[in-house]
Amino acid sequence: MIKRYDNLIIEFFCRIIAAPVFLFGVYIIFHGEASPGGGFQGGVILGAGYIMLAIAYGIDFTLKRLREKVILFLSCFGVFIYGGIGAACILWQGNFLDYGKLPLPLTHANAIRGIGIMGVEIGVGLTVMGVMVSIYYDLIVAGGVQPEIKGE
């Protein structure tokens, strides 16, 4: 199923849809604080876009563009952004996750908090995307589809 099969219509439409899907995912991550959405939702959309490409073009196609190690790095680094922002607040005399204490050149504490929320959402988005793709890849490969290239 996840081997590439040459269906022009599916490939064409996936190619058209892919870019707006990714853009939409990024939009949802960055607008999480003002409109419905946030890191989880945006991350899931990014991951779903990737999975859609994997279904249409086969898993080799997508693995060539996003290596296994990059996916692993994304999922670790995203959570690390979140935890790192939290720990950075300790360095500037705040409690854990007290974004208001971050040394940003803004006058109001609430504006700094807004920036903190956005940073956190980006971290969450990266992790969710990475993990969704990683779980998908693991389940698919273990379920019997062997990629021709190893994600080395």
Partner: protein
């Protein structure tokens, strides 16, 4: 920085757990050392936290600077400061001991993920002890279960099924807990434990609160392996890799029991479970049946890890019995038994790990002459076994002693008899091992007259295993000898006012 210590216990483990897989891509061996360093830092922070609790009393740490009940807070009081330090200590020692065993049992490619999950498991257990928020507790519960499913599944044949059964039961438990949180939320509007403690007395006769309590009990009962809900526990402990059973046996069930303490004592008032609804009475009898059942099943086992797992079920029964007695002595005994059982069970599982690592033997009948091969390990085993049976001056004696005093002051003579009978049963299954190990060569060689048994060369487990085992054995003795200090400085403050 001292007031940041509660957050640092979690943050060090968390941040290093995320770096382990990244660095593990380049060098697989680095994973273990990062984990060890992080655990050491976390242990140090836990000690600092304990110290500040001893100096200044209860410590509150507000995450993100938000005051409760709006934000999440860590509350470290006299009950959980000791348990926090205990878990940090035991997991640190286990990690030292587990190094060689993991090298033997786990594929080298999987080390980074393994150690990362291992750290997150410890992190979630420490978080569960510290948190003062009901929903935060649920999240920790899920982190600990999820990591445990994965780690248990890495074990021998049958581990997959054990892990899957645990997954199904564990999700039932966590969902029940979540339902309980929801039911409390709908009538109080709060998720903070201290806030709930303030609000609940006005709602004692609400059916919602009763339902919430029942669901908490079942959910936590599944997580800690309380008697009728224990079905996942023996398989999971037996099939898991030795290092993982060594980690989860002394810590995970103890933390769940601590959550039970929290819910009965400082979310609901203890009067709720004693006088408003007959929960304490029900728990008493469940615990009593569990104690006997666990002991009898342990006698029937041949596999040492499975035997220890059933003995865990019985020991959990003691702690729950102590809580459910709901009097001074019972509570102190139950809390002290968390300490003594954590040390003893940790030591026993470490010994089992060392034996499996060195000889591959798990069947008790083949333990002959092990004392000559591994003298230090078996000496530690004897101390831990004595503690489980309850022989002075080990820690197990004193905690059982307080629980017995509690049954006497509550006039539950049957329960006194149950504890004494179970101690005898414990003695049967531990002395059977000691007899097989130390005396079988005498008994078998009796027919040959003065002929000495053939000498066996010492083949002790590696130093990294023996030293933690000995430290744990010393810990058992220390927790026994200094039990009065533990009670005087920590545990006497956990008793709610107005309790006889």
């Amino acid at each position: 920085m001292i007031h940041q210590a509660p957050a640092l216990t979690i943050a060090t483990l968390l941040l290093s757990a995320f770096w382990i897989p990244i660095l593990g891509m380049f060098k697989k061996e680095s994973a273990y050392y990062i984990a060890l360093a992080a655990l050491f830092l976390s242990f140090a922070s836990a000690c600092v936290t304990l110290y500040s609790v001893l100096l200044h009393g209860t410590v509150h740490y507000h995450m993100g600077g938000w005051l409760p009940p709006w934000g999440i807070e860590f509350v470290i009081d006299y009950l959980n400061a000791g348990i926090l330090a205990l878990i940090a200590l035991i997991s640190f020692l286990t990690t030292i001991a587990a190094k060689e065993s993991v090298k033997q049992e786990i594929n080298r490619d999987k080390w980074p993920a393994f150690w990362s999950l291992y750290l997150l498991l410890i992190m979630s257990l420490m978080g569960m002890t510290e948190t003062g928020d009901m929903f935060n507790m649920y999240v920790y519960l899920e982190v600990s279960s999820l990591t445990a499913y994965g780690l248990i599944a890495m074990g021998e044949d049958g581990a997959l099924m054990a892990s899957f059964n645990y997954l199904i039961l564990g999700s039932v438990g966590a969902s029940f807990y979540l339902l309980g949180v929801g039911y409390l939320y709908i009538v109080t509007g709060s998720l903070n434990m201290a806030d709930l403690y303030r609000l609940i007395p006005g709602l004692y006769h609400s059916k919602v609160v009763f339902t919430a309590f029942a669901f908490f009990m079942v959910g936590i009962g599944i997580k800690m392996g309380l008697f009728p809900l224990h079905v996942w526990l023996p398989d999971a402990y037996t099939r898991a890799p030795s290092s993982i059973s060594t980690l989860i046996a002394p810590t995970m069930t103890k933390v769940s029991v601590y959550v039970l303490f929290r819910i009965i004592l400082s979310v609901f008032h203890i009067q709720f479970s004693t006088t408003i609804i007959p929960a304490a009475k029900l728990l008493l009898w469940i615990a009593a049946v569990g104690i006997i059942y666990g002991s009898i099943m342990a006698i029937a086992q041949k596999d040492i890890k499975r035997m220890l797992a059933y003995s865990s079920i019985s020991q959990i029964g003691y702690i729950v019995l102590g809580i459910a007695l709901a009097n001074r002595m019972g509570l102190i005994g139950g809390a002290l038994h968390i300490f003594s059982h954590a040390f003893a069970k940790g030591c026993l599982f470490m010994v089992a790990m060392a034996i499996v690592y060195k000889t591959g033997i798990r069947n008790i009948d083949e333990f002959k002459d092990l004392n000559k091969k591994m003298p230090f390990t078996m000496a530690a085993f004897c101390i831990a076994a004595l503690s489980m049976v309850g022989v002075p001056p080990t820690a197990g004696f004193f905690s059982k002693w307080y629980i017995v005093l509690g049954t006497i002051s509550g006039r539950h003579w049957t329960l006194t008899a149950v504890i004494l009978a179970s101690s005898l049963l414990n003695a049967i299954y531990f002395f059977r091992i000691i007899e097989k190990t130390y005396f079988s060569s005498f008994l078998g060689g009796g027919g040959h007259g003065h002929h000495e048994a053939p000498s066996v060369a010492i083949a002790e487990a590696p130093v990294t295993m023996v030293i933690p085992i000995l430290i744990m054995a010393v810990g058992i003795l220390a927790a026994g000898i200094f039990n009065f200090q533990i009670i005087h400085h920590l545990l006497q403050f956990i008793i709610p006012k107005g309790l006889v």
